[in-house]
Amino acid sequence: MNPFIEIITQPDNIAIVIMVFMVTFFMVWAFQQAFQNDRLLAAGLPVDGENDRFVDTFKPLVRIELIIAIVVMVGLTIWSIAVDAPLEEIANPTITPNPAKAPWYFLGLQELLVYFDPWLAGVVLPSLIVVGLLAIPYIDINPKGNGYYTFSERKYAVIIFSFGFFVLWLLLIVIGVFFRGPGWLWYWPWQEWDHSRVVFEPTRDLTALIGIDSRSLPGFIIGALVVGSYMVGGMIAPYRYWKKNNPELLTQLGMVRYVTIVFLFITMMAIPIKMVLRLVFLIKYVWITPWFSV
């Protein structure tokens, strides 16, 4: 059988196929409503739902809840009749499957292990995702776009969230499920998984590019300078930009909010940057210290 068909029809992976369709559908629906409201806003008209009347809970709302419940129940029942949950061999600590994959919703994080050490990919970054999500209502001080779909009134918020959600979270999950095979190597859908395949990809550290051993003291200092200037420069650059173009925004944000937003943003952007460094320039570490490596 075609390897791609084989992978997407594995019982557990059917859920991911369903997820891809559902997420795409709701993404399109959300943005379609956002653009529709944007046109209404531009024309000075009330947005969808602004002139809502009140309706009785019993029965209009109760009715629709019942219908949804029945549809979900029927859907899940059909799914459960059609596809059987997998049960593999009994657990055996002496036989390691290759690849050993985490549950599908954590595969984005497992994919990050290619680019970061486990303390970052498995602990610090996931914690920062949760912290960042919790922080959203307190750092987004834009009063507009409250209670209706819109893009034009909150472009940055929507773009940043969508990038994190669709690319860094969902796309990486899809890659981890469908494109990673034995040895966590990349397999295209038309490629057969090959357990004896070895890819010799000599990675190097950033300072090796200029001929300095990354584990030497000069290598350590240069690495520290690169990481430090990314963090400090990333902290200062938006400040200077806004100071010049939108000083009012800085006053409204205040110091704590500004630092939180920029820290979360540059940390998030460090992920695609490190991915490019690793995939294009074959760089493993930017900075090596005796305690940890970045």
Binding site: D56, T57, P60, P86, I90, P103, Y105, V123, K144
Partner: protein, 257 residues
């Protein structure tokens, strides 16, 4: 020959019926309100809601679907518990029994597993909807936070359930997952700076998660208790708060300009 109305009329006059349904329903404003606040399950709702709450295009019903998925999982989960022992000698054969011995055992397990995948999917879409409508903005900031914790709870519920069949899939998924705990800065034995706290494989975060230095009987018991008791309890309490705050913060969000 009695008509249908006569029969329903006499049923409704019956003492037992009257003790259950305290008043007749006449489709008046008062009775429609009474139907909601006189019912313990429906009184979660206000008596009247904004049209947006009824139109699918605004909420997509995603929060409600997530809650419904949770209910399905609790019910199928409780039934599964009747057939399951959380010990490494019996867990796997119990699942095999579900497959070959228990009536409808296969479909029961399938419903629980697919329901779990489904809940993870819809809870993420719910978060996306709430973000896209800006519904986390004042006065709903706190409830967004509760929602984020509930999202994490959903992941953890699914994750802890992964090990319970005690097959290769679950065993290695949990091994991969909990190995991350060993990399925790300061508190995991492979994590940065842990040597200063004298952290070893026998006293770190991973050990606490697994109840041992590797995935074994204790890990199975721990994941079972987390999965069936501790996290559902905690998540249920948070759901109370979540739903309560939806009401207290003014119901389904409406355009505020």
């Amino acid at each position: 020959m009695k008509s249908l109305n006569d029969i329903t009329g006499s049923v409704k006059k019956n003492l037992i019926w009257k003790s259950i349904f305290r008043r007749d329903y006449r489709n008046t404003v008062r009775d429609r309100a009474q139907a909601v606040f006189g019912n313990v399950f429906l009184h979660l709702h206000p008596v009247q809601v904004r049209e947006s709450a009824v139109k699918l295009r605004f909420t997509w019903g995603m929060g409600g679907i997530t809650f419904f998925a949770f209910i399905i999982l609790v019910i199928t989960g409780v039934v599964l518990m009747f057939y399951y022992h959380p010990s490494i000698d019996q867990a796997y054969t119990d699942i095999k029994d579900l497959e070959f011995q228990v009536p409808f055992g296969v479909i029961l397990r399938n419903l629980h597993r697919w329901g779990a995948h489904f809940m993870v999917i819809v809870v993420m879409i719910h978060m996306f909807r709430v973000f896209m409508t800006g519904s986390y903005k004042a006065p709903r900031q706190f409830n967004w936070g509760i929602g984020v914790i509930l999202l994490v709870m959903t992941f953890l519920l699914s994750f802890t359930g992964y090990l319970t069949p005690w097959d290769q899939l679950g065993f290695w998924a949990i091994t991969v997952g909990t190995n991350m705990g060993a990399a925790t800065p300061l508190l995991g034995y492979q994590g940065p700076f842990s040597e200063y706290l004298h952290i070893t494989p026998y006293n770190d975060v991973r050990f606490a998660l697994l109840g041992g230095a590797q995935v074994g009987g204790n890990a199975l018991l721990r994941s079972y208790i987390w999965h069936c008791v501790a996290i559902p309890l905690f998540a249920t309490i948070l759901m109370f708060v979540h739903f309560w705050r939806v009401r207290k913060d003014g119901g389904i969000s409406k355009p505020q300009k």
